[in-house]
Symmetry: C2
Subunit: 413 residues, 2 copies
């Protein structure tokens, strides 16, 4: 794509009321736009990143046997009174239409997916079952200050699993832990992300969440390097700083952000809706459930928080909006521009996503924009190096530049 | 995919309060579920159809140079008071959060996309520009009776185009007409869908919408066979039954459903937000706009209304959830079942999407389900024909069955 045709331009400043690093950088680079506190538009560059995150998640959900559905956001009040959460969930948006009908705006979908499953589930032969969706959620955050880490409206993958018993739930839950780790690995934050033990609530000794280490984190975790797991602050307050797996008491304290959560719901939601199945003896047994959430925008925000530097964003290749940022030095009649345009065409023919900076700007401005945008490989085409049959390449994450031929570039991308 | 693993089963009856043919069939076949009046969940089969419709639309939007974005549903009240539609739009959902902040739930996005464009648009060099999105819309339909044709929450592609003058808008508008016709053609309703002239409102003599002829239609159109266009009822009432292109007065009256609309907004929305650009002489000129909507669920519903028969749905190949419905006659230990399973694997290896009915049911039940689900090609594997090295194939839209070898099948799909 030609950068001159891109709808967005970079901005010198983020909005004055934007305090988060993730949103400031993403707004300045033209990936997102702030409509109001906690509510953002994904612009063409940001949308490309979002779709790549989605495709990583989709592949993993397929691996764990998830069937994709799409549930609505307008939820009848009755579904929420059945579980008691119409009154108990503080951040639930409520809408009344002009005929007096009351709805919740979905902030999570247990209240919808359980009665849905009830319509089709009857026999043990149908279990286990996993349903998931990727869609927008609404939560009434009154002071949303974390950019796309915690919005009033946000995109989430939520998967709900249904099991004959807790043993089968445990097995699936273990599989989902691995699946989530695969996702973080592919997103370039695997080495900074820890399965973190939290207090178990009403169900089991521990619950689990995934936390990514970053300076901007709102949470604090205590890492066991040997086991590559962590415990959250709450646990250390009651149990001391000790690894629940190996007993190691030499834990490393870090700031972090939650990037995914997995819950063993067991029969918490199947009971109020009376979701049961018939076992082999024909008895009615309550279905055991798990749920597994991951915010797509939050993931994008965490990557920005964890991997950027003072010049801008550093996208991992897997979710970068483009693989190559091709920069021509010279106006559109220059040899560099013409050659760069041909390189764009050849790279795109080979399936490489290229953003071609064909704008009539000074080199310094183009380089600053490239650093801000964070595309993994910068390729500079200038008359001076073209004389030697070379172009200059530089990885966004590294300082070093090198001169190579276009053929070498094609081989490497 | 194995049908035994599919989450949904077919149902004998649709909900008693479901009066529309599209939703009744789609619910019975397990494509959608009704959560409440005008609000539906897309189940795995329906979701597959939705994604195929989306991919047809996406390709066309790329052809017309659309840049994809994703705008939120929570709209600040101020944006809607600026255009006056906070008060004038009857079907606008309004939400107030506990801090008293008022929001509209987006039923359309002019109020968001115009101020967004204003942030980046400044020069004539940036025009024309086209931004689009595919996401859920909310409209307060108090009596939603048309299934997924007209929901309170629904998925829509909306594209907004920005132009230097009306001449450029006209040019783009003409291009979009063709683009929409391409979409309907690929969806299998091209021959039943007409560009329909409607009254122009405040902007121009005529506005245009696309109408698909079907018995269940709520609208009435008058078709000129020679020009392959139509006029709506309102126009015939003021101007008589006459083709606006060729003057033909011998028009054919048909019931129809609107499947897409295109509007020349001109400066209706750029003016209240003061969206202007600088022309070559440095003067500030209001931007001319167009908008182009198409409902994905509505398209699915129209296909069901227009192409089904008394036995069930008939999907066109382009949007069918699977290409082949492979039916084994015999239990899972039978030769037919084993052979069918191998055929599934071979077809899937070749990239053909197969639903394999591996359930332990009578042939009659399987055939009835196949007719209801509407997958284009039914392939029956039974011991009797296998003896002759043949399988039985039947197109859903035809009565005729034929016996062919598996190799011939592979060649033909």
């Amino acid at each position: 794509m030609r950068q001159s045709e891109l709808f967005t331009k970079t901005r010198k400043e983020a909005p004055a009321d934007e305090v988060s690093k993730n949103a400031s950088l993403l707004i300045r680079a033209g990936f997102i736009d702030k409509l109001q506190s906690g509510v953002y538009t994904y612009l063409p560059l940001g949308f490309r990143v979002l779709k790549k995150i989605e495709s990583i998640i989709l592949k993993e959900m397929e691996t764990v046997g998830g069937q994709e559905v799409l549930m609505p956001s307008l939820h009848p009040k009755e579904n929420w009174t059945t579980t008691g959460r119409w009154d108990s969930m503080d951040d639930l948006y409520k809408v009344t239409d002009s005929s007096g009908r009351e709805n919740a705006l979905g902030g999570t979908h247990e209240e919808i997916v359980v009665p849905l499953a009830k319509q089709f589930l009857s026999s043990y032969k149908q279990l286990p079952l996993a349903l998931f969706q990727i869609q927008n959620k609404f939560r009434m955050e009154l002071r949303a200050k974390s950019g796309i880490l915690r919005g009033r409206e946000f995109f989430m993958k939520d998967l709900y699993s249904f099991h004959a018993d807790e043993e089968d739930l445990e097995k699936y839950y273990a599989q989902m832990k691995i699946s989530y780790q695969n996702i973080f690995q592919q997103m370039g934050i695997g080495s900074k992300t820890y399965l973190t033990f939290a207090s178990g609530g009403s169900f089991s000794k521990y619950s689990h969440e995934f936390q990514t280490v970053t300076e901007a984190g709102e949470d604090i975790i205590f890492i066991c390097d040997a086991c590559r797991i962590a415990v959250n602050k709450e646990i250390t307050e009651t149990e001391g700083e000790q690894c629940p797996e190996c007993g190691n008491t030499n834990l490393k304290k870090e700031k972090s952000i939650e990037v995914g959560n997995i819950f063993q719901l067991k029969t918490k939601f199947s009971e109020p809706f009376n979701l049961t199945y018939k076992n082999e003896s024909g008895e009615d047994i309550p279905v055991s459930m798990g749920c597994y959430g991951i915010g797509l925008g939050r993931l994008m925000g965490v990557v920005v928080e964890a991997l950027s530097d003072e010049k801008g964003i550093i996208w991992p290749e897997s979710i970068a909006p483009f693989k190559v940022h091709l920069i021509a030095l010279g106006d559109e009649n220059s040899k560099a521009h013409r050659e760069a345009f041909q390189m764009q065409e050849k790279l795109e023919e080979k399936g490489t996503e290229v953003l071609f900076d064909d704008r009539d700007l000074r080199a310094g401005e183009k380089f600053a924009d490239a650093d801000l945008l964070g595309i993994p490989l910068r390729v500079v085409v200038s008359e001076s190096t073209l004389k030697e049959g070379k172009i200059e390449v530089k990885r966004r994450a590294e300082e070093r530049t090198s001169l190579i031929s276009f053929e070498e570039l094609v081989k490497n991308v």
